[in-house]
Symmetry: C2
Subunit: 411 residues, 2 copies
């Protein structure tokens, strides 16, 4: 890969291979020799990535969170660099720092609240530490707002004549990136602490769908699917959908059996997990017809039916995240978001569908899985852990008066 | 005002009066005759606006909310139109509808939750309605996400070759607008229901600061303040700051005496309000020195000290909202965001500082006024929303017994 002499803006205006491919006409979509070599490189780095991923899953929640933050950092870096212009940047010293200032403010905002809530649960025994952390939670929003306002004023004071349009464009772009990256990664982290299952299954389904689409497309691909991504084919799309939905059903059964994956974690500890995983992960037994060869009855976890919904989404809707990224690359005429992963492009190129999926998984979990669990015990637990004695008494009195009022209001 | 033959894109590339003014050189900042005429028009429409505003405040929370929604709608309309290009739009039928589709999704998302919580408090007596509303709350996030995904897929399928860059630009612009408009207006509505005080005082301070800056600048303005807004002067800025901080202190004392303004409202009713306004609004008495002519002692509400912080922010930081808007107008070379208010420009031109202020007021209130109530309220809210009647009673009984046990356990 040649590097641009400026060393900053790298991925623009490179001759697009996709276009060259299309010019070949209607035969096979990529020429053969190149195709096999690329496939080997891509497969190798996929294996490495999956290996590292499994190790991190084994290490636990805190490490997965750290991985998400690292990915998030590199994605932001790739995206920040994307629309920069070297000449304009030279005239605007400190403008890059401003972007990273906003990044760290966003970091404090999204994780601060979450982190400190987990911390409260971790340190309840030490009263002084507990009070410090509670204080931080109380003012966290205000602090973040002040930091944002500092960045905002800084931006306005840094405005330079004739650069207004570029600067406002960059400001908007920074906000879009941070919104995208932080929305999805905070959802991802929330998923992890609800139980690794809710992070691992969706993420795996995207990977499976990607790989399946690649191989189905590789061996059977003839009919182009969408103009935005000329390498994608209908054969790959349909084959991958079937494979993904099937995998979702089976994987959920497998993953649903490990407490390490199904138990939620309420603090920052990293030790072993024990819990009652709840009715979602208790098998129902279905007896099979007599003539069936090996098994007499089937063990199905209720969560497997929900996994079907995740599989459906991962194979039908999540690919649109990829199309969106492709369209974006075409609009601004570059091929990849970066070059950190051999054969795959940048980290952002691998994350496009993951982002759409993580948000869906979170909202699906909140809407359809959590609702039964939000039971009396959990709320009572929360009250006793996160409120002071005085607050517990106030809550008790207030709840009492609400319940009594309602009794009076009824006929 | 001449209208563009296309009737769509109106406010671009008009010769900038501000530039013409600057070319005049270093004398008075605007030529005299024009200046007086403009001032008259501007004063007249200001008086009308303030009159209407007072009427709406008198009518109550629900009507103020409605006003916010109307303003929000027109702001969005102005901003949507701003960066459109007529030729491109003609080739993209339905692209405008997509923007409004996102607008209504954002509406459902920001207000849906808030509205339904208020509704729950309004209709608790009717069991069926209560259950319907509770159901809506549970799935509100999921429904909004589905709607967003529909818009997202719609956008990708509507991508047209050679228009990618324009379409992605518009997509980003739509998101920026909605983020800006909805973030600020949802904070505003939250302020209103915490007590009209928390909406009215900040909004008044911005208006006072604006008017004061205008008059101080008009009579004493010599020294230009910032290149972005050539009509703003240091004299106006400093005079207005003093006036605003003083007004904040005095207005808080006045407004703090009306329960209509200080009581929070927890449902959608519009009737009279009675409440204990809390310690913030109970006067402290300070005795004045003997030689002081009329008063023997001074009644000061504790909230007045907080009002000083609001006044400080309204006069020092909020104007940056205006500078930001000015810079933005200059970057894209138009004079006003619209022409709906004679002498003022568009609605957006009047709202720039209000937006910054509303967010500050909300976060300030949450951090420094609400702080003791926050966690109790949140948990109480959660109990009332997510548990059934029976579960609420069980929780109440269990919490009661835990608290009593603890009392027994203490020495």
């Amino acid at each position: 890969m040649q590097s641009n002499p400026s060393g900053r803006v790298r991925h623009r205006k490179r001759p697009s291979e996709a276009d060259a491919t299309k010019a070949n006409g209607g035969q096979m979509l990529v020429d053969d020799q190149n195709k096999y070599k690329k496939m080997r490189i891509r497969t190798l780095s996929s294996v490495w990535m999956i290996g590292g991923f499994v190790l991190i899953i084994y290490m636990g929640h805190l490490y997965i969170w750290a991985m998400v933050v690292v990915i998030q950092f590199f994605m932001t870096k790739e995206l920040f660099n994307l629309l920069r212009k070297v000449n304009e940047d030279r005239q605007l010293p400190g403008f890059r720092i401003l972007n990273w200032f906003f990044f760290f403010t966003a970091m404090l905002f999204t994780y601060g609240r979450f982190l400190s809530r987990q911390l409260v649960n971790t340190v309840t025994s030490d009263k002084l530490l507990y009070r410090t952390v509670s204080g931080l939670i109380k003012y966290q929003m205000f602090i973040c707002y002040l930091l944002y306002i500092i960045g905002f004023v800084w931006f306005i004071l840094s405005l330079k004549k004739k650069m207004y349009k570029y600067q406002f464009g960059q400001y908007a772009w920074t906000h879009m990136i941070l919104l995208l990256v932080f929305a999805q990664s905070s959802f991802t982290v929330a998923n992890i602490y609800e139980g690794i299952f809710w992070f691992l299954l969706p993420a795996s389904l995207i990977v499976i769908n990607d790989i399946a689409a690649y191989f189905f497309g590789f061996f059977f691909g003839r009919t182009p699917l969408i103009k935005l991504s000329p390498k994608k084919t209908w054969e790959g799309f349909i084959g991958a959908s079937v494979a993904t939905i099937l995998s979702a059903f089976l994987l959920a059964n497998l993953m649903g059996r490990f407490p390490w994956l199904t138990c939620p974690r309420k603090d920052l500890s990293t030790g072993w997990l024990h819990c009652d995983p709840g009715p979602m992960f208790k098998p129902d037994y279905y007896s099979l017809p007599q003539w069936f060869p090996f098994w007499k009855d089937l063990e199905i976890l209720p969560v497997q039916w929900h996994a079907l919904a995740l599989g459906l989404f991962a194979s039908i809707i999540a690919p649109f995240g990829g199309f969106f990224a492709s369209g974006f690359k075409r609009a601004f005429k570059f091929k990849d978001f970066g070059d950190s992963i051999p054969g795959h492009g940048g980290i952002t190129d691998r994350m496009d569908c993951q982002m759409v999926m993580a948000v869906f998984a979170y909202i699906y979990h909140q809407s359809f899985i959590m609702q039964q669990d939000l039971s009396v015990d959990m709320i009572l637990d929360q009250i006793l852990r996160s409120l002071t004695y005085e607050e517990q008494h106030i809550l008790y009195t207030q709840l009492g008066s609400v319940l009594r009022e309602r009794l009076v209001g009824q006929p």
